[in-house]
């Protein structure tokens, strides 16, 4: 079984209809352990195609762990274990014969702290993912421009593509990371509190970017910011780890429902800021 990966060139990938690329993730019975300690218990969650799903909840409730499970970054941590299944468009990414490297190519990730490669130029940062997977885009310059435009960074950096990635401001670096993640044309983009290290203006800029890219790539975003979840997401999942218990999903549904008419009292408390 394979994810139908093939090494397509950039040109042939671009020829594909834009809408067909976004993927759907279905997590079933996901549990996670760190060094034998259960931190996440039986999470079932669907992240729908071309939608933005926000994972909200207090710190330490397993949101980020869950996010990292979705593209097999969880197993990078020493001592991490896991159970359950995660399906990308029906295929279990943890199934036998599935390679983590291939999964990550289809499910990209943007981290909390902007982490452009400091030894590469801005353009090389954008192309790095393709280079890592030995794909050579038909036209590098076009691809760099397309991706930086998608991330809303092109106008700011078009004259300085040869500068090193670290020369940008924090918000620009984060958008460069988004451009870098989009350049491999993932089907899903995971974002782990992408704005928590940024100022409000950069945050709004990135939220705009998320909305713009959502039609072609499914977005899953972890955020601590209720307003942000309301602004960007279509669906929400509320995670909670009650005292000495592993984290689990208390409630999930459309953002309107979670914020407007939550079923669970704990969800209502949290989204209205009465929590703890």
């Amino acid at each position: 079984m394979s994810l139908a990966l093939g090494r397509r060139t950039g040109a042939s990938r671009r020829a594909m209809p834009e809408t067909s690329r976004a993927g759907e993730i279905e997590a079933q019975g996901v549990c996670a352990w760190f060094s034998g300690r259960l931190v996440l218990e039986l999470v079932d969650l669907d992240m729908q195609r071309s939608k933005v799903t926000a994972l909200i909840g207090p710190s330490g409730c397993g949101k980020s762990t869950f996010l990292r499970i979705l593209n097999r970054m969880h197993e990078v941590v020493p001592g991490a274990q896991l159970a359950g299944s995660v399906k990308l468009d029906g295929l279990d990414i943890y199934g036998p014969g599935q390679r983590a490297v291939d999964t990550r190519r289809h499910i990209g990730m943007v981290f909390q702290k902007p982490n452009p490669f400091p030894a590469m130029t801005i353009a090389d940062n954008v192309l790095s993912g393709l280079r890592f997977s030995r794909m050579s885009p038909a036209n590098r310059d076009d691809l760099v421009e397309e991706m930086l435009s998608k991330a809303g960074l092109w106008n700011e950096v078009k004259d300085r593509l040869g500068e090193l990635g670290g020369a940008l401001s924090g918000g620009q670096q984060q958008r460069l990371c988004i451009a870098r993640a989009l350049a491999v044309r993932p089907r899903v983009l995971l974002m782990d509190e992408p704005c928590s290290a940024l100022d409000p203006t950069s945050t709004l800029r990135i939220e705009r970017t998320i909305k713009e890219i959502a039609h072609e790539v499914t977005v899953v975003i972890v955020t601590h910011n209720m307003q942000q979840a309301q602004r960007v997401s279509d669906h929400c999942a509320f995670f909670l780890a009650e005292e000495n218990l592993p984290g689990r999903v208390v409630e999930s549904g459309t953002t309107t429902q979670i914020f407007g008419d939550p079923v669970d009292a704990r969800t209502a408390d949290y989204v209205h800021g009465h929590f703890g």
């Binding site: 970054m73 990550r104 990209g108 490669f117 890592f132 106008n155 300085r160 040869g162 100022d199």
Partner: protein, 433 residues
């Protein structure tokens, strides 16, 4: 006080050359409204902006350059009085003797007096700061002094008798005791060639091994890490003569290898490996783990991550580690004694026969009775130090991060009068600025 954010909020979208007030007043095109009301010294061509005060250095209690006036008096007085007092006590009142003890007592008393004297001028805590500053500065000065002394001393011994032409073109086979201008007929070409070949071989073979080991220790990990790290640490404690004996007994006595430059480079690898491995490991450790995760999350396999992200990021540190390791083995003598064995004649083939080396020339010639050979030994020492110096300079140059194409500096006004950090660099179109 104008803060950084004030500057940025008023920054124009394009860098504008900053002209001095005198120039702008004399230029007729500018209306009076453009002049800063406060009579600031800076004026821009486009929208008026508040005058920016000149940057000033903040006072720091332990910056040596801030010690002035009264402090110098205190320092000099403390030095003189402590010298006199210790001299009287040391040589007149007691039976103590010895220059070393004298210096130590003098320094200790000097520090005490500096503290007492400074405490009269400033409060006690500040006085303690000053004393610590004096200790730190004298320690640094002592080290620099020792290095300068060694370099100058060797140069002074080597340069007056140096015969440049012969030194780099001849070997020692023509040496005759009774010759009048013997230095015109002998040189150290054999040693320079031998040293370069041995070090080059050791570097080519040893550095990839050391870098690979460091990558294993820091990037790959696993069960063996603690063992390997312990072994590497123990290896760095190996006396270099033992490295020589090891190669001698394992390879030369068993007739696997003849006495040769190659055997010497194997012994040098034993010295090179642990030091380069440890430094490269440290350098790799400071590469932020976020970069590795970013690379993995892009679908890069681990070897790709190490090769394309971790090593380029740590590039300057790795280059420095390698060059410092090379500089270390260039001067090693003991591992060569039973391996290269030393030779008076040029042998350009490192794989057969005895071969000379610079440290061996110094070691053997400086003990000879003939003044010519002693001179030659000092000249070899001078050449050796020059090679190490070149390596250190190379480490600084190549260790620097790669030049940035199209740097922001190129777009700044050339006659920029302010230090760089005070000039805001506008980012086009960024709504945040």
């Amino acid at each position: 006080m104008t803060t950084d954010s004030d500057l940025q909020s008023t920054a124009p979208t394009e860098p504008v050359p900053i002209t001095s007030r005198a120039e702008s007043v004399s230029s007729p095109g500018l209306g009076p409204g453009l002049h800063s009301a406060a009579g600031g010294s800076l004026l821009l061509e486009q929208p008026p902006r508040p005058s920016v005060p000149r940057p000033k250095r903040l006072p720091s209690p332990i910056r040596p350059s801030d010690i002035g006036g009264p402090d110098v008096v205190v320092l000099v007085a403390a030095a003189l009085s402590s010298f006199c007092l210790v001299w009287v006590v040391f040589y007149q009142l007691t039976l103590l003797s010895g220059i070393f003890g004298f210096l130590v007592c003098w320094y200790a008393l000097f520090l005490t007096l500096v503290w007492v004297g400074t405490a009269q001028l400033v409060e006690r805590q500040a006085a303690t700061d000053r004393v610590v500053a004096v200790v730190v500065v004298t320690a640094a000065a002592l080290i620099v002094g020792i290095v300068v002394f060694i370099v100058v001393w060797v140069a002074a011994k080597a340069l007056p008798t140096m015969h440049w032409g012969a030194l780099f073109t001849k070997d020692q086979k023509n040496f005759q005791v009774a010759q009048t201008d013997a230095l015109a007929h002998v040189g150290i070409l054999h040693a320079i060639v031998g040293s370069l070949e041995q070090v080059l071989l050791a570097t080519v073979l040893g550095v990839p091994l050391a870098v690979a080991t460091a990558i294993f220790l820091n990037e790959v990990g696993g069960r063996g890490v603690r063992l390997v790290r312990t072994v590497v640490t123990a290896m760095s404690g190996t006396p270099s003569v033992v490295a020589g004996i090891f190669i001698y007994s394992m390879l030369i006595l068993t007739h696997v290898l003849p006495y040769s430059g190659f055997a010497a480079s194997l012994a040098l690898i034993v010295i090179l490996l642990p030091s380069v491995t440890r430094v490269v490991e440290e350098v790799l450790r400071i590469v932020p783990s976020g970069l590795r995760e970013a690379s993995l999350a892009l679908g890069a396999p681990q070897w790709r991550t190490v090769w394309s992200v971790v090593l380029p990021t740590a590039r300057s540190g790795v280059v420095t580690a390698v060059l410092l390791g090379v500089a270390r083995i260039v001067g090693e003598t003991a591992p060569l004694l039973f391996t290269a064995f030393g030779s008076q004649v040029l042998n350009a083939n490192p794989f057969v026969h005895d071969q000379g080396a610079l440290p061996l020339v110094i070691w053997s010639d400086v003990r000879q009775a003939q003044p010519v050979l002693i001179d030659l030994a000092f000249q070899a020492a001078f050449v050796l130090m020059s090679i190490v110096l070149v390596l250190f300079v190379a480490a600084r140059i190549f260790g620097r991060t790669k030049g940035k194409k199209g740097k922001a500096t190129a777009r700044r006004p050339a006659d920029d009068v302010l230090p760089r950090m005070f000039v805001p660099v506008p980012m086009e179109g960024d709504p945040g600025r």
